[in-house]
Amino acid sequence: MKFLEKYLHKMEPHFIKGGKYEKWNPLFETLATFAFTPKLVTTKGTHIRDGVDLKRTMFTVVIALIPCLLFGIYNTGHWEYAVAEGNRDIPYFAEMGAKFLTGLTIVLPVVVVSYGVGLTIEFIFGMLRGHALHEGFLVSGMLIPLTMPADVPLWMVAIATAFAVIIGKEIFGGTGMNVVNIALTARAFLFFAYPTSMSGDKVWMSGLSEKMSTNTADLDGFSGATALGDLASFMSDKATVAGETVQSSMALQNFSSEYGVWESFIGMIPGSIGETSTLACLIGGLLLVLTGVGSLRIILSFFAGGFIMGLLLNMIGGNAYLDLAAHHHLVIGGFAFGAVFMATDPVTASQTAFGKIIYGFLGGFLAIMIRVLNPAYPEGVFLAILFMNIMAPIIDHYIIQANINRRLKRLKTA
């Protein structure tokens, strides 16, 4: 590595102020600081500094996302196979290598586009502002593909990423300054700008819409919906099977045979690329909590909020959605993924200790509420988290105000 270091020393003068490639300094600095921790020393204040920096922190989150990514690749491959055979019930753990490779050909381009577009924009802003790449996008660039449906066109990924990075982050000042979560901004943008490509029952399995338009006969009775989408359609089916008195439980029975708690927990269901496996999310979550990067307070309270809302809705009951068991809600859709990777984003979450508990709880609570009470948005998790991102400063405001009041009270009694 001495060779590389020497080369760096040699090139450095060209990139500093007054050098030949002064303009490209941010690019040089980014690459150099990734290869080597720079030789910056403390000048003021403490003379020593903790080893931890933002690069290591962000990299840890990327590592934590790998189980979700790997499982997502396999799951995508599996459903591609299911579509090809026109049969939803092909065995899940078979032809694993081939499925994984198929999944890879679908997922990898999405990841590449997300990073490519995002990093390019970040570099442009970096060069305009004269600073090196800030590490935030390392995580966002991985989160964005994992929230996309498998069948999403690449140009949409590109547009969504560009929108999220520019409007969601850079206009606020870059990493650490954004109000709402970047990846969810990308997801929300697509959801509202291109609803037909982001919801419904054709987009969750790669190749399905294409096959449906050319060869419908093959796919008779084949549903490409997600668990949540199916549940919504079971509800609307109510009218067509009129006369039955126990429609809700019938729908639930259908649903549970299709999406058992265990299958959903492992993630053997269609859905966005990285969100289906609660297990993979929890493995990542474990890493985040053990390293202290993710807030256990937020994750736990998010699950608690969702579970309690689920219980409340169970008590009301009456249709398939309301009757779906509370614990079942936690393992379908993007609930676990949102709890572990989206809600814990330290920049957009509450910053105070008690605020985090309120923030997480309300996030989970709202996620299930939106999911159940507004079937137009079966995936309520990202809306709930975006909403709580906006609310987080208000929660913090009251926590801070309580701290201030304690001090004022002390002044009065003194």
Binding site: A35, V41, G45, T46, R49, R56, G173
Partner: protein, 450 residues
């Protein structure tokens, strides 16, 4: 004796190079320097000129804003030069020593009958007032104010700090005298905080408090916060315990004793130990032949709050410790010693590094590398883990950065000093110079609200 207050939010940074309990005398260097920059916010007004002959305890300069606060010479000799910097700001007053240490005599014959006013006058005249710091603002105390409490800590919990039980173990008589005088000065409002079972609990006439746990348990700011926090409009004072003993000696002997026991510490010293050294001695005299290697940083004070010095600079006025650590001015390849390395060589409060797995006895050699670049605040909940105050550190720092005076007042700026944030600055992932921001916030408060 009250109950022990245990500080759980904090961090003991375990460094190599603790001072051995051996003492060596360092003869006073041919030149000593007293820098007005050691006293934050001070505008000095010179009393002596170049060529004047001074004795130990003679006034060199005083505070232009509060003329009663005087700063005295720690040595006898002649004023060699008055070093000025930009805008003719006085940077240093250099004195050529004559080696005799002849001292000015103060009249302490009736010391036992001194009133509070007499004691205050003696503190001011003998230069000891400059060692009394006040909160809010963390500057030299204003003698016109009445302090609601006077806080002294009998232990220093910062990295490699001197052990005052060793330093003052044989000076108890003077220490008691010093505390008696301070009690008189403040009307029995002296709080002395010690570790449990400390020898200092034998001191009479003060309110004893017991502190335990992680650094910053020994910081006087932490102790104030847990004993009797400062509110707006109130003042508290504090003094280093070695200065209390030195003032006690003045009361019994009538001369200013400028020699202090200073701990020489740090991984780059051949033989870390204690030395007897006169205030303002040149660093090169203190560290003569004691340092290994040349790419090192000399710090007057500890690694968290000390000042960077060159060998030609002088020991800081408030410092009882000198630390020498390696400079970190080299690239570190990311997979070996850099940001993605195994990290067994780094000391981190974050569990992203394996520090927490290593035994508590393991000590570290840390250099001055920042281990990363400065960023905006990203991580939350991190500073709170090392900040044992009922104050929100991130929010207060942000208020200081944005010069939000109301925000700072509300969030507790009156209680804190930059040193309270030293650990926050150490652990900060985004490498923000928090102590500097707090100091700027305090300066703003000083100019707008005091």
């Amino acid at each position: 004796m009250s109950n022990t207050i245990s500080i759980r939010k904090g961090l003991n940074i375990r460094l190599v190079g603790e001072a051995k309990k051996e003492i060596k005398d360092i003869s006073v260097s041919s030149t000593v320097g007293i820098s007005p920059l050691d006293f934050h916010g001070l505008t000095p007004k010179m009393v002596v000129k170049e060529g004047d002959v001074v004795k130990v305890g003679d006034v060199l300069f005083f505070d232009k804003k509060e003329a009663s606060i005087k700063f005295v010479s720690p040595v006898s000799g002649t004023v060699k030069s008055i070093v000025r910097g930009e805008k003719r700001r006085i940077i240093n007053v250099l004195i050529s020593t004559d080696g005799k240490q002849t001292a000015k005599k103060f009249d302490v014959a009736k010391a036992s009958d001194f009133t509070a006013e007499d004691i205050k006058l003696l503190l001011l005249e003998s230069g000891f007032w400059s060692t009394i710091k006040q909160r809010p603002l963390d500057v030299i105390a204003n003698p016109n104010n009445q302090a609601k409490g006077f806080f002294v800590s009998s232990f220093d919990s910062s990295p490699l700090a001197p052990d005052y039980e060793y330093v003052l173990g044989d000076d108890f008589e003077n220490l008691q005298k010093g505390f008696d005088a301070l009690s008189k000065l403040t009307g029995d409002k002296v709080h002395l905080s010690s570790k449990p079972n400390s020898i200092f609990t034998k001191i009479k006439g003060v309110k004893h408090h017991s502190f335990d746990g992680l650094h910053p348990a020994g910081n006087v700011g932490t102790q104030m916060h847990h004993i009797d926090p400062v509110n707006k409009g109130e003042f508290v004072w504090s003094m280093n315990i070695q200065e209390v003993a030195a003032f006690g000696r003045l009361l019994s002997e009538g001369t200013v004793q400028a020699t202090r026991k200073v701990a020489l510490t740090g991984s780059e010293l051949k033989n870390p130990q204690y030395v007897n050294v006169v205030k303002g001695t040149e660093m090169s005299a203190i560290l003569d032949k004691a340092v290994e290697g040349s790419n090192v940083r000399y710090i007057s004070g500890n690694v968290l709050t000390g000042d960077q010095k060159h060998l030609t600079d002088f020991l800081g006025h408030y410092h009882n410790q000198v630390t020498v650590i390696p400079e970190g001015n080299e690239y570190k390849f990311f997979l070996t010693t850099g940001w993605l390395g195994h990290g067994f060589d780094k000391f981190s409060n974050s569990r992203l590094f394996p520090t927490f797995l290593l035994p508590k006895s393991k000590k570290f050699t840390l250099d001055t590398n920042t281990n990363g670049e400065e960023r905006a605040f990203v991580v939350s909940g991190e500073l709170e883990r090392v900040f044992p105050f009922d104050i929100l550190p991130v929010q207060l720092t942000k208020a200081a950065i944005t010069q939000d005076i109301d925000g700072m007042e509300n969030l507790g700026i009156y209680e804190v000093a930059p040193e309270d944030f030293a650990l926050c600055e150490y652990v900060c992932t985004t490498k923000i110079n928090i102590q500097e921001k707090i100091r700027q916030g305090l300066d703003l408060i000083a100019s707008e609200c005091m």
